[in-house]
């Protein structure tokens, strides 16, 4: 996925290096404490990895039942795996059977006898190894399917479905694939990100979207695979990890062959008021899973420009991308898996606004040359004038092909009106297909005047991002968010939802997946700053 880019913007490599270094230090400062904690959802994710699935009679997922029990009995700080492994040794049952016994009340946490560390470790590592192998198999299947499929569009066409009924979603996803979409995302039910569990089973009455459940993942994945047989192309499936269940949803994604996941703690903090500590810890494990599963993550910097002004705050996106890159590297993600977010959100009424968009998009491209950037369409400033919206979306597509973006969220005709109709997606795909083809090599042909408005803007953005990173390095990322340095939104360090799910690790804490995943996804020499 490496797109060759020249230095069209006359950027100072020293500045780029500086930004990366500062971002590295900011990430290190977070990672200095992230490893000291676990969270409820991290442990639930481990449970899911160990094969625990399903929900009890009242709909509480087994993973929650188990983790709640361990928390109640005060041993969650050791991690879920040790206890589970010991139970397996003691009862010679499967993880699922143990969970069900716990749920049924027929088994008490305390009733499991201790055993030699060696012994339960062996059981734990074996099960974990099998789980990891399962994920690898899914990854291999994806690689196989992709390698025999026709190559995707460039940039790739990404559309969303959001009906609230997974069966309707599946039909629409299939139609989108037939229309030429490379990527389909199923929007989540409003507010799922604030649920401290993952709903179970298929959704037929969602609101504003469909729950991210493993069954829903499976249903839509099948629909897209079906479409792939007709089109000979591979359609990527996307869902959302961000929220209170980041690692769990990542596990589900790894199992069900999702191809991309939105995965961003900063998004959760700023836009869903999630507790900082909680979500940074969750993000780390969650991204490790994504990394191992070969899933591309999407980060949420684009959202900043819906609450803050896209022209005034363009540099905050750049700064955040640097931070997200460093954080992602520390979770084992390759740059090729980092769909760093940005957006075309400058007020269309702005004189020379298009030049500013080109500058920002080209800057992202040059700063992160190996990353498949996720480029979000105009949303905030589009109106009920659907014709104009269609046109602005076309300009967005033009900037994308001109600057070599990779993941192109398509703008919808009715963005200002309602969640997309089936025809809106079709029209958006036609829009992009026309522009991408008609301007295919424009990027190769066009050079920006030295010292001109475009170069100047890019240089300015990079400078401002550097300054911002320098400041954040001094005050810490948490303080920066307290001060409202991103998205014009202030969040207090200890406030937000989900803080109670954070648990300091015991010195004997054990989770085999950390090792397995991190060993597999070694970051290339010299990439970590």
């Amino acid at each position: 996925m490496i797109i060759p880019v020249d230095n069209k913007l006359n950027l100072d490599p020293g500045k780029v290096k500086l930004a990366r270094e500062k971002a590295g230090k900011i990430a290190d400062r977070l990672h200095a404490w992230i490893g000291d904690y676990t969270t409820t959802t991290t442990e639930r994710a481990a449970a899911r990895l160990m094969g625990i699935d399903g929900a009890d009679e009242s709909g509480v997922p087994m993973a929650n039942v188990m983790v709640d029990e361990l928390a109640r009995s005060g041993i969650l700080d050791h991690g879920l795996v040790p206890w589970l492994a010991r139970s397996i040794v003691a009862r010679e049952e499967s993880p699922q059977e143990i969970a069900e016994a716990l749920a049924a009340g027929s088994l008490k946490v305390e009733s499991i006898p201790d055993c030699a560390e060696e012994k339960w470790r062996e059981v734990a590592d074996k099960l974990a190894g099998e789980a990891a192998a399962g994920i690898k198999a899914v990854k291999a299947e994806r690689d196989r399917l992709k390698s025999k499929a026709a190559p995707p569009n460039k940039p790739m066409l990404y559309v969303i479905v959001a009906t609230g009924n997974v069966y309707e979603d599946a039909v629409q996803a299939e139609a989108a694939a037939l229309q030429g979409a490379d990527i389909v995302a199923v929007i989540r039910h409003t507010g799922q990100s604030l649920l401290d569990y993952v709903p179970y089973g298929p959704t037929t009455e969602g609101f504003g979207g469909t729950y991210a459940t493993q069954e829903n993942f499976r249903i839509v994945r099948q629909a897209l695979d079906r479409a792939a047989q007709k089109t000979g192309r591979y359609t990527n499936l996307v869902n959302y990890a961000s929220g209170l269940c980041m690692p769990e949803i990542s596990v589900m994604g790894a199992f069900e062959r999702l191809d991309m996941m939105l995965n961003d703690a900063m998004y959760g903090i700023l836009f869903r008021d999630i507790n900082m500590k909680r979500t940074f810890i969750d993000q780390h494990f969650s991204r490790m899973i994504n990394a191992y599963a070969g899933i591309i993550i999407n980060t949420g910097e684009d959202n900043y420009l819906t609450t803050a002004d896209a022209f005034d705050e363009g540099h905050t996106v750049i700064a955040s991308q640097f931070i997200n890159e460093q954080l992602a590297l520390r979770s084992g993600l390759k740059e090729e898996q980092m769909g760093l977010g940005h957006a075309f959100e400058i007020n269309p009424a702005m004189e020379d606004g298009l030049l500013m968009e080109i500058a920002q998009a080209q800057l992202c491209r040059e700063l992160f040359p190996r990353s498949p950037l996720k480029y979000m369409p105009p949303t905030k400033h589009v109106t009920g004038d659907i014709f104009k919206t269609y046109l602005i979306n076309g300009m967005f597509n033009l900037v994308s092909v001109l600057t070599g973006q990779e993941i192109q969220l398509l703008g919808m005709l009715t963005e200002a009106i309602h969640t997309p109709f089936i025809s809106d997606r079709y029209l958006s795909i036609k829009n992009a297909a026309y522009v991408f083809n008609n301007a295919k090599h424009l990027g190769e042909e066009i050079i920006f005047r030295e010292g001109g408005r475009i170069q100047e803007r890019a240089v300015f953005l990079l400078n401002e991002a550097c300054k911002m990173l320098q400041e954040i390095d001094e005050i810490s990322l948490e303080t920066a968010m307290e001060k409202g340095m991103f998205a014009d939104i202030k969040r207090s360090r200890d406030g937000g939802k989900g803080g109670t799910g954070v648990i300091a690790r015991h010195k004997d804490y054990y989770n085999p997946f950390f090792t397995i995943f991190m060993n597999d996804t070694k970051v290339e020499e010299g990439r970590l700053s």
Partner: protein, 248 residues
């Protein structure tokens, strides 16, 4: 999804939601009353919950609207029957071989864009050597003698030439449709042909951006061709239909 084809509704993102987009101008000044008038118009059309998403002042007392609503009408799709050309489309080579082998004589075709219509691109696409979208035009068919009379040809002149050349098929193009001039002109041509007793001596075929086979049949033509027609579509039809008529 379980679709009842006897009562189909428009679809946004959920079966039978009736979603529909409309845009129009009203000759009233922009304002809250105008928006309400637009809403009332939509209600009269059978749109529930009409929502004006854009109102624009066009100046001089006109206002433009974009509106979404939920259409309550249904259509019985299960009983719809549309007349269609039956024969399959053949390639340039296949058509020529068929004519040579089965018909045994060359086909004569006379074409024009008639009346006040001066748009030649469409008929040229079908008839001229060069053809259209990579498909050779009828002039290039070894087994077809094609005569393209050009544009603004009076209907009577077209028929006269067809008689003179002993044409098997007459091709007429109509592109301008303002005030339904194409319908008037096509009707005139058919009536003229009937009056002169020529109607059954040759295939009468029309085409243009607003022509469908169905419309052509209604107007008394043998066939009609719309946007996207390629020369071989027309050639296939002519060859097969002549064979049918000659009972080959």
């Amino acid at each position: 999804m379980n679709i009842d084809y006897s009562s189909v509704k428009t679809y946004g993102d959920t079966l039978n939601d009736g979603a529909m987009q409309v845009s129009f101008t009203l000759p009233v000044p922009a304002g809250d009353e105008a928006r309400e008038a637009a809403r009332q118009m939509a209600l009269k059309m059978g749109l529930d919950s009409p929502s004006v998403t854009e109102m624009a002042d066009l100046g001089a007392g006109f206002t433009f609207f974009v509106l979404y609503g939920k259409c309550k009408h249904t259509v019985d799709y299960s009983v719809i029957k549309v007349p269609k050309q039956q024969q399959k489309v053949m390639s340039f080579k296949e058509v020529n071989e068929l004519i040579k082998k089965e018909l045994g004589c060359r086909i004569v075709v006379v074409a024009a864009c008639t009346g006040s219509d001066a748009h030649t691109v469409g008929i040229d696409a079908i008839v001229n050597m060069k053809g259209y979208a990579g498909e050779y035009g009828l002039e290039r068919y070894p087994e077809i003698d094609a005569y393209n009379l050009g544009s603004q040809v009076p209907n009577a002149e077209l028929l006269a030439r067809a008689v003179e050349l002993n044409a098997d098929a007459v091709l007429v193009s109509q592109v301008v449709t303002q005030k339904n001039i194409h319908l008037e002109n096509l009707t005139e041509l058919i009536e003229l042909a009937e009056a002169e007793g020529l109607r059954d001596r040759m295939l009468m075929i029309c085409g243009g951006p607003r022509i469908s086979h169905e419309l052509a049949i209604e107007l008394g033509y043998d066939a009609g061709f719309g946007p996207g027609t390629l020369p071989n579509h027309v050639a296939s039809y002519i060859a097969a239909e002549l064979m049918r008529r000659h009972k080959i």
